[in-house]
Amino acid sequence: MVTIAIVRQRSLFGVVILASIYSFLMASVLIVLDAVDVAMTEASVGAGVSTVILLATLHLIKTTEMRSVRPHLLPLFVSLGTGAVLVWGTLVLPSFGTADAVIHKHVAPRYIADTIKETNVPNVVTSVLADYRGYDTLGETTVIFTAGIGVMLLLRGARRRGRSDRGKSSP
């Protein structure tokens, strides 16, 4: 329902607020699924910081979406098709919560059994994230680093160029 409201909304301010609501709803869903760590991330990043940054972006640009000139039938078909393929893919997955699904038989039992013995950390999410899968987390941190540097370079560079243009035109 929120998604339909987002699609129908023309004011970008409303879209940002609705996206924030959507993030909170997703965080609630994740809590229901017992993924508290992910829910926390979704609530703080999706509903908190990204909303603030989107609002800051809206402050810099126009806040109403242009009415599109072409009918958007092709995008509709693409998204419906992708959705249908994804739903079709879930049909062959084992049903939710089955104990003998493939993913529960690989390394997960070892992590759960040995995390106290090997790392002294009772929260398996933390020990998997920072220890068993340390390389992945290092990569994620590097991604955040790269993204932050990139955005700052873009914004700074544009500002400096704008300033020098102004300096040229004023005399």
Partner: protein
């Protein structure tokens, strides 16, 4: 000015608790939900709330821009340095068991260091992004 009195006082009251919650999420991440990423975002959220309510100058007094921008590479360096330390002490990259005689304690310490690195990078990046966006329309 007088209209946002409640907002200002409320923000002042709630700021230390946000920071306390961030630290709780960071250091209690071993036992409950949370960790460096979430704590970093909550810390950045505190600075952003301060900037929204009291203006950019107030926020940059407690979190100067130069410090925030240096935090971004510093966190990655702490994370990667933890890995290199394992390498120098004769084990694999990111093998934490070298930090202590008891491998489990070494792993605990390694996770702590790595989470600290993630916290520093995430908090720095989020705050620096917010600063960059806000400074654009000056």
């Amino acid at each position: 000015m007088s209209l946002d009195l409640i907002l200002r006082v409320g923000t002042k009251l709630v700021l230390p608790f946000i920071l306390l919650f961030a630290l709780y999420v960071q250091f209690h991440g071993d036992f409950g939900p949370g960790g460096g990423f979430q704590a970093g975002v909550i810390t950045a959220g505190m600075v952003i709330l301060l900037a929204i309510t009291f203006g950019l100058e107030a926020a940059q007094r407690i979190a100067p821009q130069a410090l925030v921008e240096r935090m971004i590479p510093l966190g990655v360096l702490i994370f990667a340095g933890t890995g290199v330390a394992g390498l120098l002490m004769g084990k694999n990259y990111l093998d934490y068991s070298v930090f202590s005689h008891d491998p489990a304690h070494g792993h605990e310490l390694g996770i702590f260091l790595v989470e600290a690195g993630v916290l520093i990078t995430v908090a720095g990046t989020m705050t620096a992004l917010f600063y960059a966006f806000v400074e654009r329309d000056r």
